[in-house]
């Protein structure tokens, strides 16, 4: 109890380095395992080019987020909404945003459960996995964003090393002829793959505006460092897309749910290193922990701040329970999940990850005078 009160009073602060590492892990999150399949299904031989296009287009979205952070440097998304849209409309939009973050958290939790149940621990009930993962997430969020960021700092080198092992040892199996002829896909195909990839990797970064720039301690020369971090994160996605399509072939990659996992399974270095798939599973679960944590953090803090609770920590455990319950019913089947992600997810994430911040920025500028007078 005493501890909770102390946590409620302490102002949290994270470094820019910690924030960038968190952002990289968030971008890699689900994409490292899922993106190659969707990119190969849309853009065939040019899946990796589609990922490059997504990286380029994503830069614009990152710059948009940065512009908003500079427009309202000491505020988070809930503050900005209420300031720009007015108290009640701002609160209504914030509640919708909390719902978006909660749905996203539940879908990520479902993805972890589905991956483990179908690939590794086949006979374990999904509910047990969801409980265990969510327990770690709720505990982390109870301890605060500083703890999550420090954890990201600790795990980052391990994640990069584990992924690099898979990348390096896959290089001997790369066959460029698998993706020839190059640039064979149409612009439509490439842009379809890129759009879906952006909706998974870049647009959800909006949830980080609950942390950035309010809790980031150093505020000088942020943009170049953030862009560099973003490009590094996307490098992992482009590289794994290139490797999966050139090693497995485009058709096999497109037909697999988790092509990166299949790559890791097929690794065999002179009979010495085999069954390396758990490496990719561990690194993926670590990255997804941070993605899930940030979605959950956004849903809890936005809700708590919008309805004016004294501390968000009091509702983390019941919200965790709701996330688990939601994750059990969110996708009735894998086919439903694929169909929903292909048709609706793009628009859902575009609404909250692009239209919402863009409107906040534009309306904020149009109402500039009144907002600055409110501030003073």
């Amino acid at each position: 109890m005493m501890r909770m009160e102390v946590y409620g009073l302490v102002k949290e602060e994270i470094t820019l380095r910690q924030f960038i590492l968190l952002m990289i892990l968030f971008i890699i999150g689900t994409s490292i395992l899922l993106s190659p399949a969707s990119l190969a299904a849309s853009a065939d031989n040019d899946a990796w080019i589609s990922a490059l296009v997504a990286m380029g287009a994503g830069l614009v979205i990152i710059v948009l987020f940065w512009i908003i952070s500079q427009q309202f440097p000491e505020r988070n998304l809930v503050d900005i909404s209420e300031l720009v849209l007015g108290k009640w409309l701002g609160k209504a939009v914030s509640l919708l945003f909390s719902y978006f973050a909660l749905i996203s958290a539940a879908s990520v939790l479902w993805t972890v459960g589905n991956f483990l149940v179908t690939q590794i621990i086949v006979r374990t009930p999904a509910l047990v996995i969801h409980f265990l993962v969510m327990f770690a997430v709720v505990y982390g969020i109870q301890l605060g964003i500083e703890t999550i960021c420090r954890t990201a700092e600790i795990f980052f080198p391990y994640i990069v090393t584990l992924l690099s092992i898979i990348y390096l040892f896959s290089i001997p199996s790369v066959e460029i002829k698998q993706i020839q002829p190059l640039l064979d896909s149409s612009f439509k195909q490439i842009s379809e793959g890129a759009a879906f990839d952006i909706s998974v990797s870049v647009l959800p970064l909006i949830v980080l505006l609950m942390v950035f720039p309010k809790y980031v301690s150093e505020k000088k020369r942020m943009l170049p460092k953030i862009l560099l971090g973003y490009v590094c994160a996307y490098f992992f996605i482009v590289a794994i897309t290139f490797i999966t399509t050139t090693v497995l072939g485009v058709r096999v990659t497109a037909n697999q749910s988790y092509p990166t996992y299949v790559i890791a399974k097929s690794l065999n270095i002179e009979g010495l290193i085999q069954r390396a798939e758990v490496i990719i599973a561990v690194s993926w679960i670590l990255t997804i922990f941070f993605k899930l944590s940030m979605y959950f953090y956004a849903s809890v803090t936005v809700l708590a701040q919008t309805i004016g609770l004294t501390s968000y920590r009091s509702i983390t455990i019941p919200m965790g329970l709701i996330t688990i319950a939601l994750s059990l019913i969110i996708y009735p089947s894998t086919i439903y999940a694929n169909d929903w992600n292909e048709t609706t997810w793009l628009w859902f994430s575009l609404t909250f990850g692009f239209v919402y911040p863009l409107l906040l920025s534009v309306i904020g500028r149009l109402r500039g005078k009144s907002i600055s007078s409110n501030n003073s």
Binding site: E192, I322, A325, L326, I329
Partner: protein
């Protein structure tokens, strides 16, 4: 297993509620109780096999015009 889970949930929520009562914030307590009730109800409905429509159906309905346009464009 489900009975144990329900007991743990109830005891846990009781401990949390006791802490919030000491703090004396009515809004926090009300939100806490409502969220616990929603979460526990959701889990119990799942346990007893009572089908709950996924919230994604509602979202899909809202975005249907846009997603069908997208499908036509990339058909």
């Amino acid at each position: 297993m489900w009975l144990i889970l329900l007991m743990v949930i109830l005891v846990w929520s009781g401990i949390g509620l006791k802490g919030l009562r000491k703090k004396g914030s009515v809004k926090d307590m009300a939100t806490y109780i409502i969220l616990w009730a929603i979460g526990t109800t959701g889990l119990m409905l799942y346990r007893f096999g009572i089908s709950i429509p996924t919230p994604l159906d509602g979202i899909a309905y809202i975005y249907h015009p846009l997603s069908s346009l997208w499908k036509q464009w990339f058909a």
